[in-house]
């Protein structure tokens, strides 16, 4: 079998069209690898479907007709996207046996563009987590290892941990993720990949199981920046089924290849030099700044004064929305039910047994901050601070074109760490959450490695709907990261 390990999407596409290999070969290669993998990346495999889809693609290619943008490219689908006829769990026991009879818009877009779906990737339960340790279907393991001796398995990051780990382990060419507070960017960073969270409203939320509706946004996890552009092109659409879907025209994302970074202003927010920022990461950040300088960009210091309030704001708004979004899991219409003669018991036991600890913790918080007497002090306050955070970015973008920061304060850590104190886990998202609150597009690209050979990601945040600029900045980082 040919080794397709280090293939990116555009190369694969070229080879497929030249008939150097078939989609079936490519698909079988990844199926074989998934079967042999023990990283627990997939909750549900759809190999039979995948083989059918690959054959279909090969037919189109051999006839040289109706060839679509992602024809025959095998990918993973985060188990947050409802897939028609294929079990969709959101990583939760409460949806363990749920089979949607409808297709999410994002998965539908990818399938319509010829992508071959290998299976549903593991994730933190209802996307609540930063290490992929809250899934009912078990932890996901990061294929990367620390160069230290006798080290434990590392987390892949979360919540799109199964997606990131599977791309990093060459179990698929790319995967979908969803990002509420960093769930695409942080795992991409931990696994040495590219992760892109588009502007809120760019990808439809229809059929994507909701965590926090005002923040949730789908996006790709890929090996390269160019692949991210290709995936994003397919995933984006205006969708009349989603009232928060943007009607702004969708650009040709590959245009980022012609984007000239010279003369562009790169903003450095002083507030992102947070406490506990790992020194290796600071070093890579500095190197990346120099890289931009060397390539003709202008570095400007900016201030995002409310940065330190972003995480507490997020941990009020997201659980509050979740407490309503997850109320539908009540044992009545679908999913797990704990039987009882009494309705109250049925509700309370179904939810007590169907949800894991982290989900329950957030539902409790969310319920509390919305309840009578606390709404103003917590929820309303958080909405106001969210406005301030958003305003910070607005003023910053008057001075710069993109903002450059690290993606995470630390590299991937061993499974089992940071489990005792929820807040310690939440701090993983301290650098990604502000852009989420402001609905801005942001990309994470691996920019270097720490002394133990673990990847360090840099985050580039852009203006609303300016995905092209962050792709271009990401491309520069990707091209020159060998300098380390």
């Amino acid at each position: 079998m040919t080794d397709f390990k280090n293939l990116d999407i555009s190369t694969a596409k070229e080879c497929l069209l030249k008939k150097e290999f078939s989609s079936l070969e490519l698909t079988e290669f990844f199926i074989d690898r998934i079967k042999k993998s023990n990283l627990n990346c997939f909750i549900t495999n759809t190999f039979e479907n995948a083989i059918e889809m690959a054959k279909e693609s090969d037919k189109k290619i051999s006839r040289n007709r109706e060839i679509r943008d992602l024809e025959g490219i095998p990918i993973g689908m985060k188990d947050l996207f409802c897939t028609k006829g294929v079990r969709t769990t959101a990583g939760s026991k409460i949806l363990e046996n749920f089979v949607p009879f409808y297709e999410s818009t994002v998965s539908n877009n990818l399938i319509s563009d010829g992508a071959v779906i290998l299976g549903k990737t593991n994730m933190d339960e209802f996307a609540m987590g930063s290490a992929n340790t809250t899934s009912f279907f078990g932890n996901v393991i990061n294929p990367l290892k620390s160069s230290e001796e006798n080290t434990k398995d590392l987390v892949p990051g979360g919540s799109s941990g199964g997606s990131a780990s599977s791309v990093a382990a060459n179990l698929c060419m790319a995967a979908t993720g969803s990002d509420t507070g960093g769930s695409i960017r942080q795992p991409a960073s931990f696994c040495g990949l590219v992760g892109l969270k588009p502007t809120y409203g760019r990808c439809s939320r229809f059929g994507m199981i909701a965590f926090a509706s005002s923040l949730d946004q789908a996006g790709p996890i890929t090996k390269t920046v160019k692949d991210a552009a290709l995936m994003l092109q397919s995933m984006s659409s205006y969708d009349e089924k989603d009232s928060t879907s943007s009607r702004k025209p969708i650009p040709q994302y590959l245009d980022f290849l012609n984007f000239d970074i010279r003369g562009k202003k790169i903003g450095l927010p002083t507030e992102y030099k947070v406490e506990g920022l790992n020194s290796d990461i600071v070093k890579v950040w500095d190197d990346t700044i120099n890289l931009f300088k060397k390539n003709g960009a202008e570095i400007v210091n900016i201030s995002l004064p409310h940065t330190s309030f972003a995480l507490p704001t997020y941990y009020i708004i997201a659980p509050a929305e979740a407490s309503a979004n997850l109320a539908r899991y009540d044992g009545v219409k679908y999913g797990f039910r704990e039987n009882s003669d009494d309705l109250e018991d049925m509700y309370e036991l179904t939810r007590a047994k169907g949800f894991g600890d982290e989900v329950k913790r957030r539902l409790m918080i969310g319920t509390y901050v919305l309840s009578a007497g606390y709404y103003d002090a917590y929820y309303l306050k958080a909405l106001k601070v969210r406005q301030l955070i958003s305003d910070d970015f607005k003023s910053a973008f008057e001075k710069c074109d993109v903002i450059l920061t690290p993606t995470t304060p630390n590299v991937a850590f061993p499974i089992g760490e940071k489990q005792n104190d929820p807040i310690e886990m939440y701090l993983n998202d301290v650098l990604t959450v502000p852009a989420s609150l402001a609905g801005l597009p942001a990309i994470s690209v691996t920019a270097g490695k720490n002394s133990n050979n673990l990847p360090i990601g840099m985050q580039v945040i852009g203006r609303p709907f300016d995905e092209i600029s962050i792709l271009a900045a990401g491309k520069l980082i990707e091209e020159y990261r060998s300098f380390l």
Binding site: A210, S243, A324, L370
Partner: protein, 483 residues
């Protein structure tokens, strides 16, 4: 204030506000494309939003928005150009999302009013607000000892919640208010107002107080679905409250249910424990913004409203207040009346519509709109009365049968042999024979016992088997008796 409750300690006043839920007459639901058709197979009109499927998202129905605006304009209310949808959170098996999408702080319609007729004349009842919200599904509790059954066909249908000020002070006023509101909704077509089907239902907030004192604690009676029940519920509930207070007990603010079987209200179990709806803006829905053009367009398309129509009916057709009021209560009835009155004496028409037709419909438990009765059908019969072919009484006697036959009016009376004798000599002969049979009475009459005139008329009509033209009988009888 004319309505007071007699208690042991004196008179009590009744203070009420109503929250009326009116289902908008639309093809599809408020946030989904499912049909609103009534009476379908259970769970057959349920799209993703209506069953709370994971990943489902709401998309608003523009027609429903327009109906809320139209209703607001008809109730002299302010339309809010920007309104917000909120989630009202609670668990119930027929609430599939675990929350109802409603409007809390920023409803689409603000302050307005409507006018009702009371014993003391006209009274203005304030409207606090109208908001748009989703209906819940239907639970069936009485089919099984262990289980309840859930049908989500109604889930997600568009409701307008029309909230009144606490301006109502008697069961009659509450009834008048609902009737007037229903008339307006039907007239503009935003709601069918069919209370049996539950597409118009009221939550009644009842409190009592000693005249002039501050408002008492109120109880909310949920989902009362007929005007008669509203009145019964209020009568029972207000007396219950008076008795409690007079016995030194407190009224606890609670939700109650009306039981039509015994005419009583009772505490609703379950709902009370957690009365914390945790409203917050629905992040799935941007603010609802309507512009002036839209509002202006709807305003220009408003039909003649019941109050205007009533005024016109009184002038144009010389109707009594009472008759005009009941004719304008139903849009369909008022058009039916106008079709009949176009070329006929409105006096005959109004009595035939409000007496004969209405009692027929009542007997059949039907609405004019749903019955297949056409105005021509009634008109043809009236024309036979007017041209003297049959008498009013004859027409009444055959009315029910006539309505149910397919025969033309003239053919039908021919077939039935119903005919009015209007031949003067024939009638004279009849009268003479009656007078000859009752010579003594004729003498009594001539001595001044005027009342016997009616007796003679009756006898003549009887003799003619009801076929004699009553006017002619009267006239000829008078002539003959005065000789």
């Amino acid at each position: 204030m004319s309505y007071l409750i007699d208690g042991k300690t004196g008179k009590w006043e009744l203070v009420m506000g109503l929250e009326v839920h009116a289902q908008i007459k639309s093809n599809s639901k408020l946030f989904s494309k499912a049909s609103t058709f009534w009476g379908g197979k259970p769970n057959s009109q349920v799209e993703l939003v209506d069953s709370g499927m994971p990943g489902a998202l709401p998309v608003i129905n523009e027609y429903c928005v327009d109906q809320a605006i139209k209703t607001g304009l008809s109730l002299n209310a302010k339309i809010n150009k920007k309104s917000i949808f909120d989630r009202k959170n609670y668990f119930y098996p027929d609430l599939p999302q675990g929350y109802q999408i409603s409007q809390f702080e920023h409803p689409i319609v603000g302050n307005g009013f409507l006018v009702i007729e009371t014993e003391d004349g006209q009274k203005r009842i304030g409207i606090t607000r109208i908001h748009l919200e989703q209906d819940a599904g239907k639970s069936i509790h009485d089919q099984d000892n262990q289980n309840s059954f859930i049908d989500l066909n109604r889930s997600g249908c568009a409701l307008m919640e029309i909230v009144s000020e606490p301006d109502l002070n008697s069961p009659q006023e509450a009834a008048q208010y609902v009737k007037k509101l229903r008339a307006i909704l039907r007239c503009i077509g935003s709601c069918d107002g069919n209370m049996e089907r539950g597409n118009l239902r009221a939550d009644v907030n009842v409190s009592v107080r000693k005249p002039g004192q501050k408002l008492g604690t109120r109880c909310e009676i949920k989902n009362v679905n007929s005007i008669k029940f509203i009145q019964q519920a209020i009568e029972y509930e207000s007396r219950r409250q008076v008795e409690l207070i007079e016995n030194g007990q407190n009224i606890s603010q609670e939700t109650r249910l009306f039981d039509p079987n015994n005419g009583e209200t009772r505490t609703m179990r379950g709902k009370e424990e957690s009365h914390d709806y945790r409203y917050f803006p629905d992040p799935d829905l941007p603010p609802l913004v309507v512009n002036d053009d839209r509002i202006e367009k709807i305003k220009n398309e408003l039909p003649e409203l019941p109050d205007e129509k009533k005024k016109r009916f009184k002038e144009q057709y010389k109707l009594k207040d009472y008759d005009a009021e009941i004719l304008v209560e139903d849009q369909f009835v008022s058009s039916f009346f106008e079709e009949l009155a176009e070329k006929r004496d409105s006096k005959i028409v109004v009595s035939w519509v409000t007496v004969e037709l209405f009692s027929y419909l009542k007997k059949k438990d039907a609405q004019l709109q749903d019955s297949k009765i056409k105005s021509k059908k009634i008109g043809d019969l009236l024309d036979l009365i007017i041209n003297g072919s049959i008498s009013n009484r004859q027409a009444k006697e055959i009315f029910e049968e006539y309505i149910e036959t397919d025969l033309e009016a003239s053919d039908f009376i021919k077939k039935k042999g119903v005919k009015q004798v209007s031949d003067k000599s024939e009638i004279e002969a009849l009268i003479k024979s009656v007078l000859q049979k009752n010579v003594e009475m004729v003498n009594d009459y001539k001595k001044g016992k005027d009342k016997l005139f009616g007796f003679f008329v009756g006898q003549v009509m009887k003799e003619s088997k009801g076929k004699a033209n009553p006017q002619l009988v009267n006239q000829v009888l008078k002539d003959l008796l005065s000789k």
